[in-house]
Symmetry: C2
Subunit: 195 residues, 2 copies
DNA sequence: GTTGTTTTTGAGTGGTCGTTCAATTATTAT
DNA sequence: ATAATAATTGAACGACCACTCAAAAACAAC
């Protein structure tokens, strides 16, 4: 007997991701969201609870997609490390992606909200941690011992956070590719010296 | 004949830096500033023009201090590269600094505002560029050719941006020191291979 | 003490914020 | 058709936003 929802939940959250990713939490207003989701305030609150909860779902969705992209790129490759290096090199090409926000949404959230004062910031930090753990897993798959893998994973995440933040600057595609390649080279170097 | 201003301009801007650095532009309200500067709205607007202009001054002040700290640490050292490495290693110790905001204010601003849509974001980007140019200058002082110095400077800034963003996470002092040392080692390695 | 100049004050501006909820609309089951 | 149920609407809410300005206060010069 009930009336079915006319909007698609996944695409709605997808649109929310785009908005929140670009503008951040504070600078995104409910007005903006109403426009982007094509929903009126009542519907948004009935469906997602609050702006904060919606942001949480967007964050989770973003992280899930990022993690999926990573594991997919590494799956079934002979050398996990080489695959990881390829993943890094590919970061420069994401410039043509949908939103003109190159920086990681998790990092943007962590820097905007902080992990101590904000539930959302803490969740962003946890998701970053999960990413890093995945890097470590991948490295161990190539025989790198656990402790070394974790160290390299940390350095890798530092590099990625820096790289994508740097991409927020106004620089050319050539320099982007150059820096992404440089980070990939660093990774290969670390795996050799740390082993 | 005029009545002199009773507040100290520099300390006022210093307090503004602290607030803006921690909370960012959007999340800092005029109420917050009134409290931190111990000034009433009318005085703030008479002295600094607007919230945006005040943020601009705070940004400039922050960048100037950062640049001064860098050049001072490198001045009169036999090896500029070694001094630069020391500067990097010292980053882990800044955890005990006044505000619990480890990430660079310029990066936070760039990520929050973006360089395209915001005058403030564009200024943050310009100041980051100035930092990078200074890194390149320092490297050239040790005989590294111009092109290589610029490349290394870019990689260095990527590393620093990542490192300080990573420091925003909830990690121990030991890991901070470890990662700062790792970046310093990377710098030394780059200067050897790129020469 | 008086005058001249400037700073400081703080109540008040219109606007926007996130959020709510009674009314309306749309769909399904009978 | 009708009834039952749920999704959608949008006007309205109090709170807070950045900001203004006329009045009051504080100093310097005489």
């Amino acid at each position: 007997m009930p009336r079915p929802a006319k909007f698609d939940r996944e695409t709605a959250i997808g649109n929310a991701v785009q908005l929140f990713w670009q503008r951040g939490f504070s600078a995104t207003s409910m007005k903006d969201l109403e426009l982007a989701l094509n929903m009126r305030p009542g519907s948004i609150y009935a469906s997602f609870g609050s702006k904060e909860q919606l942001f949480g779902m967007a964050l989770e969705s973003y992280a899930e997609a990022s993690l999926a992209r990573l594991t997919e790129q590494v799956a079934n490759k002979p050398s996990a490390i080489q695959a990881l290096a390829g993943y890094l090199r590919g970061m420069a090409d994401e410039q043509a992606e949908i939103p003109p926000a190159q920086a990681c949404m998790l990092v943007k959230t962590l820097l905007e909200l902080g992990h101590h004062a904000s539930e959302l910031g803490a969740r962003a930090e946890a998701l970053l941690q999960r990413m890093e753990a995945t890097f470590a897993d991948i490295l161990q798959r190539d025989g790198i011992p656990r402790a070394s893998a974790q160290r390299i994973a940390s350095r890798l995440q530092v590099g990625i956070m820096g790289l994508r933040s740097y991409f927020q600057r106004d620089i050319g595609a050539a320099q982007k590719a150059d820096l992404a390649n440089a980070l990939a080279d660093d990774l290969l170097f670390w795996t050799q010296t740390y082993r």
